[in-house]
């Protein structure tokens, strides 16, 4: 009976529910797909769509209260859903391996790398301990871990995140499994490291013939690796197809929405507003009857009240949508007309913020009384101007000092050196009391919508606090009406006032955070990664909100992000930071069109584009290694240790930040060489 066409994995109508006291949470609710040997399958969807639960179900890693309540997982002819624990154990790691999202927590901190790799192999009796060790070293080498022989005896904490993910990959393929499931393997990593890991993943698939299921929220990542994509929404697959088709011509409105909500790094936007869809994903305890996307769907028709099946559209793709079943593509979104905002920006380029030679060194705790004082050079001589009315983007990998910089200019930290002038006033070393009046004009939006709102205060209290502190309104009644106004401004109902932050979703919380920043009527807002913790559609909503507010209130933004596409999309000018120093400054369009610093170049090339056709034409500049420690930065140019064009001079001379083209400043001895 077994034919070549028999798939490696055949999932049918899989249902994994969490049987909680509050009723079953139907996290995975009727998923079916096939996976052929050696195939690369991407699963994409928002958080809560069930993609991760689906992967763990296949691995049988879920514990009560999660339960497989229906369906089958046929793997090489056996139904994994029906195996007992011992039988499943023989499959895990041996035939199916898995790589998880967070490499920082996935390795056991107290065990040596060697032990963790070796036991993966010896557990299934395929290797002796000695053979496994040799193989572990080989695998690490294959994964690009430098001096694998020595590295294997280190502990995980001595490895960076990227290195650990390489170890995880090595562990995953150590038993030559038929299937490797990678659950958001690069989400926690910087874009340059992400590119390296994805490259490895492609290589493993190609060289070893291992089938890969790659789970990601990022269409670009999926497009980069996979030959087929599943889009999940509300516990089920809503669309399936090859990336070329699915990403250029989506046939499910949800796919369509995902695709259009994310700004693209390879295109300049006519308008900074993004296409978004309304509302929230439905409650997994009670999926709506009919099409689960119907409530949010801009294309919904009457028939959508009936639950659609995942039906083939053509030979290679399928969609769960009555609209596209009826035939025809989903139209391009109608974009509002771009407004002429350049005029006002050009009119009076007054500097709002002037930063000169700014440094911040954090002293590290001494290990003992007699150890030397060590210092973390988080920000190390940054010059930066922000003009009134413009949006300046600050990009860089984690640890480059961009968040510290944000906290310096808002004077949450006191600088070690340099100067900060805000609206003409020197605030470098002012006391908090001296700065307090200026805080009305300078506000901040934070990254984590869960941590940035005091969980013990109602939204009303959070928003009236600043008003009363700065005497903007007199009395509770006035404060109340002003708060209602603010809530309206960020698109929240008045009733939100009496509620606590935990009653809101991430996007709503970020709106509250924005409302708080706007409460004082500032001119200048520092936004520290305001959207990076959000799903793509919510990201788009927040970006739209921020763009709207800028138009309406004439705000100036310092926008910090690690996502280059977003930065390109919303910013007028962009500052690229690396290890506490500015590498390049330029207008967004210029910088992306013609990056002059090798670091900018590599950053841009590392960001994946959710379009396989474009991706194929892009030139990728591989970036070597890992960022050095800010405790002990390299001499000369800080980027030289990873730079593809570095020469001897770079180790000796610190390249100054000099104009290299019109309005574009670069700190490189060889601007534009790459």
């Amino acid at each position: 009976m077994q034919e070549a066409a028999e798939p490696l994995l055949r999932v049918r109508d899989l249902r994994t529910w969490f049987l909680t006291d509050a009723g079953p949470v139907r996290a995975v609710d009727g998923v079916s797909f096939d996976l052929a040997a050696g195939e690369t399958l991407g699963i994409v969807g928002e958080s809560g769509s069930g993609k991760s639960v689906c992967a763990k179900t296949i691995m049988r890693l879920l514990d009560p209260p999660a339960k497989i309540v229906g369906g089958s997982i046929e793997f090489r002819g056996r139904d994994l859903a029906k195996l007992n624990e011992e039988e499943v154990r023989a499959v895990r790691g041996r035939e199916i391996a898995m790589v998880f999202q967070d490499p920082m927590t996935s390795l056991n901190p107290v065990l040596r790398i060697a032990r963790q790799l070796v036991e993966a192999m010896t557990a299934h009796g395929r290797f002796t301990a000695a053979a496994a060790r040799t193989r572990a070293i080989d695998l690490l080498r294959r994964m690009g871990v430098a001096s694998a022989q020595a590295a294997v005896d280190r502990y995980p904490h001595q490895f960076s995140g990227g290195m650990r993910q390489r170890v995880m990959l090595a562990m995953g393929v150590s038993n030559e499994p038929a299937l490797l499931i990678a659950d958001e393997p690069t989400t926690a990593l910087d874009v340059t490291i992400q590119a390296q890991i994805l490259e490895l993943l492609r290589g493993l698939n190609a060289d070893l013939g291992t089938a890969v299921i790659l789970i990601s929220h990022d269409l670009g990542v999926i497009a980069n690796v996979c030959s087929r994509i599943l889009v999940m929404y509300a516990g089920e697959v809503v669309e399936e197809g090859a990336p070329e088709d699915l990403l250029t011509d989506p046939r499910h409105p949800y796919t369509w929405a995902l695709l259009h909500a994310a700004p693209r790094i390879d295109a300049e936007a006519e308008d900074r507003r993004l296409v978004t869809i309304e509302g929230q994903p439905p409650d997994p305890r009670a999926w709506p009857s009919g099409c689960r996307f119907r409530a949010r769907c801009p294309f919904a028709i009457d028939k959508c009240a009936e639950h659609p099946a995942l039906l083939p559209i053509d030979a290679t793709r399928a969609s769960r949508c009555w609209v596209t079943q009826a035939g025809g593509a989903l139209h391009e979104p109608a974009r509002p007309k771009p407004q002429a905002r350049d005029a006002q920006a050009v009119a009076a380029p007054q500097p709002m913020l002037e930063v000169r030679g700014l440094t911040k060194h954090f002293p590290l705790p001494r290990e003992t009384l007699f150890a030397e004082h060590r210092v973390l050079r988080a920000v190390d001589g940054v010059d930066l101007d922000v003009m009134a009315g413009e949006t300046v983007g600050l990009v860089g990998e984690s640890g480059c000092g961009k968040s510290t910089l944000a906290r310096l200019v808002t004077r949450l930290h006191e600088p070690t050196g340099g100067s900060i002038r805000f609206a003409g006033t020197d605030i470098t070393h002012g006391t908090q009391a001296e700065i307090r009046p200026l805080r009305r004009r300078m506000q901040m939006i934070f990254q984590d919508p869960y941590a940035s709102l005091n969980p013990r205060m109602t939204v009303g209290e959070i928003l009236t606090g600043p008003l009363l502190l700065h005497g903007i309104v007199e009395g509770q009644a006035a404060a109340r009406s002003r708060v209602e106004e603010l809530l309206g401004l960020v698109g929240l109902p008045r009733q939100a006032m009496a509620r606590f932050p935990h009653e809101f979703s991430g996007g709503q919380r970020q709106r509250i955070s924005i409302a708080r920043a706007l409460a004082l009527g500032p001119d200048f807002v520092v936004a520290d990664e305001p959207i990076s913790a959000l799903d793509v559609n919510i990201q788009a909503q927040i970006i739209n909100l921020m763009v709207d507010l800028q138009d309406r209130l004439g705000l100036t933004y310092l926008f910090i992000a690690h996502d280059l596409a977003v930065v390109r999309h919303v910013c007028d000018r962009i500052v690229v930071l690396y290890l506490g120093k500015v590498m390049e400054i330029g207008r967004a369009a210029d910088l992306f069109a013609r990056p002059l610093h090798p670091y900018t170049r590599t950053l841009i090339s590392a960001a994946p584009v959710p379009d396989p056709r474009v991706e194929r034409t892009r030139r990728h500049v591989p970036l070597k290694g890992e960022p050095p420690s800010a405790m002990n930065p390299p001499s000369g140019c800080r980027f030289r240790t990873r730079c593809p064009v570095a020469e001897e001079r770079c180790a000796v001379e610190v390249p100054p930040l000099l104009p290299a083209a019109d309005g574009q400043l670069v700190a490189c001895h060889f601007p534009g060489r790459i």
């Binding site: 154990r89 023989a90 895990r92 390795l107 056991n108 901190p109 007699f370 150890a371």
Partner: protein
């Protein structure tokens, strides 16, 4: 590493001296005059004899001179003469300490040997009967007053059931072995006196269980919590995904991580067992340091109080240091130099 230990030891010495200073000052505010108790009724009424006695023990010196004298003696390893026993405090401590050391050590071993596996099992088989047993044990351990537990255990297992021997370290008819370490189990074993060894071991059963209960409760509770925490970590999921056996995951992955808080607790608990056996020793007539401490405190026996404070404080800081060092060995993330 050596430098680190050195600097820690230096800090420890300072802490110990500070501790003795504090106790010294507190003890000196006590209105009682130890000379009056140490001397008999008649002599205590003779000012000359009292004066002579006070001079003999340096009680007539100004406070700072007394402390200075204490420090000078301490440097020479001389802890002074006990006012109530009239002999060197060091000799007293050498007499009493082994009983406490033996009891505390057995109790400590007991609480670890029982508490650790119990906590691990409870975490692994959460909500099963063993979990309930573990929770009940830890609850009773941390809730029951030691002195009461001692009374109840003695009344039941000795008084009623006659399963366990009575108070004391040995049966009244047994002869203590010739002193080598003062630890009866070791001394009898070294001398091959197995009957007495047996007797000493039997006498340890009840008091060590009583003394261990509180620690056992804490160890069980902490281990359970730490194991639950460790078992919920990503690396455990990774280990499962590798296809490792359940007990390999529990013992090889979760346990080494869960050990960290248990080690901290264990160290502190051991120090506390050494210092805090007063009540158990009282009920079980255990001739140990706890009772000696108590007696010294109520007789305002300055030299003894100071010496005990110094020794106990030293034990505390050294145990803390040992905990930190073993932490460094268990957890590679703690920087080693």
């Amino acid at each position: 590493m050596i430098r680190y230990v050195g600097s820690r030891l230096l800090t420890s010495v300072v802490m110990v001296l500070l501790a003795t200073l504090v106790i010294f000052l507190i003890a000196n505010t006590v209105p009682g005059d130890p000379a009056l108790v140490a001397l008999g009724d008649m002599a205590a009424s003779d000012p000359l004899q009292v004066k002579a006695f006070r001079a003999q023990y340096g009680l007539d010196l100004p406070l700072w001179d007394q402390y200075w004298l204490f420090l000078q003696r301490l440097v020479h390893g001389d802890l002074g003469i006990s006012i109530s026993s009239r002999r060197p405090v060091l000799d007293d401590i050498i007499d009493y300490a082994p009983a406490t050391l033996e009891l505390a050590t057995v109790a400590f071993i007991l609480s670890i040997v029982v508490g650790l596996p119990l906590g691990v099992l409870a975490a692994v088989r959460r909500d099963s009967w063993i979990d309930h047993v573990a929770r009940a044990v830890s609850l009773i351990g941390v809730s029951a007053p030691t002195f009461w537990l001692a009374f109840i255990m003695l009344a039941i297992f000795y008084g009623q059931l006659d399963w366990a021997p009575g108070p004391g370290r040995l049966d009244p008819v047994s002869f203590p072995p010739e002193r080598i370490t003062g630890l009866l189990l070791i001394d009898t074993a070294l001398q091959g006196d197995w009957a007495t060894f047996h007797d000493a071991a039997a006498h340890l059963v009840l008091p060590s269980i009583v003394l261990a209960m509180a620690t056992l409760g804490l160890v069980t509770r902490t281990t359970r919590a730490a194991m639950l925490e460790a078992l919920s970590q990503d690396y455990v999921r990774v280990a499962r995904a590798k296809g490792l056996r359940r007990w390999v995951i529990v013992n090889g992955h979760a346990l080494p991580n869960a050990m960290l808080p248990v080690v901290t607790l264990g160290g502190l608990a051991y120090a506390n067992l050494l210092a805090g056996a007063v009540m158990t020793e009282t009920v079980f007539s255990w001739p140990g340091l706890g009772r000696y401490t108590f007696r010294s405190a109520v007789t305002v026996d300055f030299p003894a109080i100071m010496a005990i404070t110094a020794i106990v404080a030293a034990v505390f800081v050294l145990v803390n240091l040992a905990v930190d060092l073993s932490y460094a060995m268990l957890d590679p993330r703690v920087v080693k130099k």
